[in-house]
Amino acid sequence: MTEPGTLAWLAGHEFRLGWRDWTALLTAGGRARTRNAVIVLVAFVVLMHLLAYWIVARYADAGLAVDMATLIAVTATLLLSWSLLLSQAMESVTRAFYARADLDLILTSPVSARKVFAIRMGRIAFGAVAVAVLLATPFIDVLVLRGGLRWLAAFGVVAAMGAVATAVALALTVALFRLVGPKRTRLIAQIVAAVIGAAFVIGLQVLAIFSGGTLSRAVALQSHWLLDRVPSPASLAWWPARAALGDAGALAAVLVLAVLLLGAAIAVFSARFGEHAQAAAGVGAVAVRQRRGSLAFRPRSPRRVLRQKEWTLLLRDPWLISQTLMQILYLLPPAILLWVTFRDGSDAYVVLIPVVVMAAGQLAGGLAWLSISGEDAPDLVATAPVAASSVMTAKIEAVIGMIALVFAPIVAALAFDSSYAALVAAAGIMTAAGAATAIQICFRVQAKRSQFRRRQTSSRLATFAEAFSSIGWAATAAMAAAGTWYALAPATFAVLILLGVRWMSPPSRD
């Protein structure tokens, strides 16, 4: 037993909370689901190893004396992973700032608040490192098996990346606090985190489109444009890549730098953490006065008021907009590809259509969750003299209407080039959106809208079904756009997913 109030005791407490959060995330809080979570985890690990083998096995033989292309490829992979880690770390730091949970207890206890917050930051760093190592393990395993033990050094690089991501996330979030104040930091930090997570992938795709006319990131990394602009092979910028490739000296330097950065960030920011957390907790919702042209009540049917309500609630919530429309950010590369297609007169829309269809499916899934599961006044709607089927129809209309609004410009742009492609895209978008909505209906669980980010944990089955359904419809649309009857195969797969979902969905309870 450690003595209460000591660093070790506080660390034990923090890590116990962290562990329980993590297990709750996996099991959605249900003991009976633990076994299922373990099965899903094992399947996930196996699948990730297969995926890793397919992606990285061919690079396992890369030597220490590597060429520029390898250095660029490894560095880009590390940067890509790091941007995602930074995004997650910013989320965690923001959550920690705004979590009121035990703030009063900590600040009124005789334990040094600085000590507590330093431990809390350590927990965030540990979480970031753990997630990074867990996700990287299948890839490193494959590299070690195929290329030898020197690849184990990659674990050190990944851990260092997690630590640096936390240090940078702390600095960025505190900077935001000071620049824009606690009231706006939460929203801006979450948007910045999401954009950072997406920006690197999107940037590479945009680069690839201009350099090769495809959505492939690999093309961008081998482009002359990039090769002419990167530093020389002797530059320190390549040390993380060299460390990952097994250079012991580079690894030691990367690890020391990471630990120093994290230590400095914790030392500097832990003193002010309590102050910022208090400021964040003190932020009440400030009254927002709503203006509208006429104050007269408008005569509308129940279905129309329900649709209007869904749209109003979404449009007035910048956080939800940022979370749902973040998926639209991924439409930027296809939109640019479309523009390049028109410019060059190629048939690249066969590549574009599945991306758009998949994005529609994913966006519809999120909107359907908000509309169906994230109803803030379920009792009010349930006690209204409106048939449940009418309520559901109105909510589906709200989702599909939003999807139509978002994707209409892309379909219209396609129609200028090929009416057939536009027709296929429109049908694909609507079908994928309808399927994602149907899945959300089957797995609806009443929740608060603020739980939107954690909706996947309420039903992993729904999450996977939604993803595979979108992929199925995207593949169908791609093949239909190419004019082949093989489109029926992925369509059948997608329909089977829907039937499976209907069969496996929990019975509705009163």
């Binding site: 927002v288 709503q290 005569p299 509308r300 803030d376 009792d379 009010l380």
Partner: protein
């Protein structure tokens, strides 16, 4: 008493089981223009009963009749004349009270002109004028509850069902809510309310029902309940505790 008055709410053999019987063969008769308080210890089945009446839960057995309408076979007709208010106000943070009332009026298919006039009246009664066009997200619990109550009344229901509506309200807000409810009863509406604040039941209720283990163990005016428990019970609190203790001893 009350034989000549129309029945506003009647349940017969109402039963709902979860792990155990939550409501057990419950017969309730509440008359039009009556303020009825449903009391009982935690887990007695009060909320389950009211949720079944409001159409939020389907009973395992029994019937529910609201103003002569079979609420199980014609739920929409029954809901048209019923309102439900829970202890957690059911409002939307991003809507203003005014927009919320417009939304509720739309759901209940109330004529827009009539609904608007009622909304203005309710906003005035409940002292919400200053916040009528502010989003609800910054409101205190009391203000949120008043908005929810305004929503429940905007469609002019014959039966208002309230589950612990005064929980967490300050004295001023509680007074406003009680006044509005009393006015509804005076105007001929029926109010059925659960509360743990016995003083409210004692001062406002025409009749009180005491429920324990899903069964109605006593019902009547405060005086009738006092008589039932025998000498010594001077307040509703004494009477209630005596009734619950007797039931526990008998179980």
């Amino acid at each position: 008493m009350n034989v000549s008055r129309p029945i506003s709410l009647a349940t017969r053999g109402l039963t709902k089981r979860f792990d155990r019987p939550a409501v057990d063969n419950l017969d309730l008769t509440i008359y039009g223009g009556e303020f009825y308080a449903l009391l009982g210890p935690n887990g007695a089945g009060k909320t389950t009963t009211l949720r079944m009446v409001a159409g939020l839960l389907r009973p395992d057995a029994g019937t529910i009749t609201i103003d002569g309408i079979d609420a199980l076979s014609a739920p929409e007709d029954a809901k048209q004349i019923t309102a439900w208010v829970s202890d957690e106000p059911m409002i939307y943070d991003k809507l203003t009270p005014y927009e919320y009332l417009e939304f509720v009026a739309g759901l209940w298919r109330i004529d827009a002109t009539i609904a608007e006039a009622r909304a203005r009246e309710l906003i005035g009664w409940l002292g919400l004028e200053a916040q009528a066009h502010d989003r609800c997200e910054g409101f205190s619990k009391g203000t949120r509850q008043k908005v929810a109550l305004a929503g429940a009344l905007v469609h002019d229901p014959k039966l208002i069902i309230l589950d612990e509506p005064l929980t967490g309200l300050d004295a001023g807000s509680a007074r406003q809510v009680k006044n509005v409810l009393r006015d509804r009863v005076t105007a001929g509406g029926t109010v059925v309310m659960t509360t743990h604040i016995l003083e409210v039941a004692e001062r406002m209720a025409d009749r009180i029902g005491v429920i324990a283990n899903g069964k109605l163990i006593a019902e009547g005016t405060l005086e009738e309940l006092r008589v039932k428990t025998g000498a010594g019970a001077s307040s509703l609190e004494d009477t209630f505790l005596a009734l619950v203790a007797n039931e526990a001893a008998a179980a």
